[in-house]
Amino acid sequence: MNTDRIQKKVLLRAPLKRVWRALADSTEFGTWFGMRFEGPFAPGARMPAVIVPTAVDAEVAKAQKPYEGIPFEITIEQMEPERLFSFRWHPGAVEPGVDYAAEPTTLVVFELEEVADGIMLTVTESGFDQIPLARRAKAFQANEGGWSMVMKLIEQHVRNA
């Protein structure tokens, strides 16, 4: 098992220009991903952001709600128009009050390829082997804590109904 990278492919039935804009335009990227950036993306730029609920999926938006306003930062690496977009970030860096600056980052690469039915988009996130294990374990536990809290809320809601 490769523990260092995650790779995903998805076929998007949309024009190349449309897909590129959804990635390279910081406002559009933020809309589907669930982040609000200050200013446009540019190669080498450090982009401060805050987590905002996505505008695309109500259910996911609800799950993102508890993290709303948490600051986040990505650093743009490469922008090759309509072909490649990449950035670095601290994966799962949503614990309030933790300074992630000194920790290693992972690299996220979006690659676009025109195919018969649309655009084949490949996303590769790599560098996980450099992330301290303690951080990985903690990120998981933090998430689990979040879930048990949600379950408790649902339980209360059902009981009061």
């Binding site: 995650i6 695309v56 303690a134």
Partner: protein
């Protein structure tokens, strides 16, 4: 497991193995306990499991994010006006 057993039949030196084990100990993958003159090492399976689940979770987050991206670029009404 002791260093002696780990190095049995291999050409790797005790020093090299010890160095690797210390690095792994630093990231929480193994634990060393002193037994007389020797250190005994054991794998921390729970930590390994956490690491694997962490990757699974990030993998699922990407699945979700890409579904949102697909809806966003394929449905004109989700795009900007």
């Amino acid at each position: 497991m002791s260093i002696t057993r780990l190095t049995e039949g291999s050409r790797v030196t005790r020093q090299a193995i010890t160095k690797h084990l210390r690095v792994m100990e630093g990231s929480g993958l193994v634990r060393g306990t002193r037994h007389g003159r020797e250190s005994l090492w054991q794998l921390d399976r729970r930590r390994l499991e956490d690491a694997r689940r962490y990757l699974d979770r990030i993998s699922r987050q990407w699945d979700d994010a890409l579904l949102r991206l697909r809806r966003f670029v394929e449905n004109p009404q989700d795009g900007p006006p």
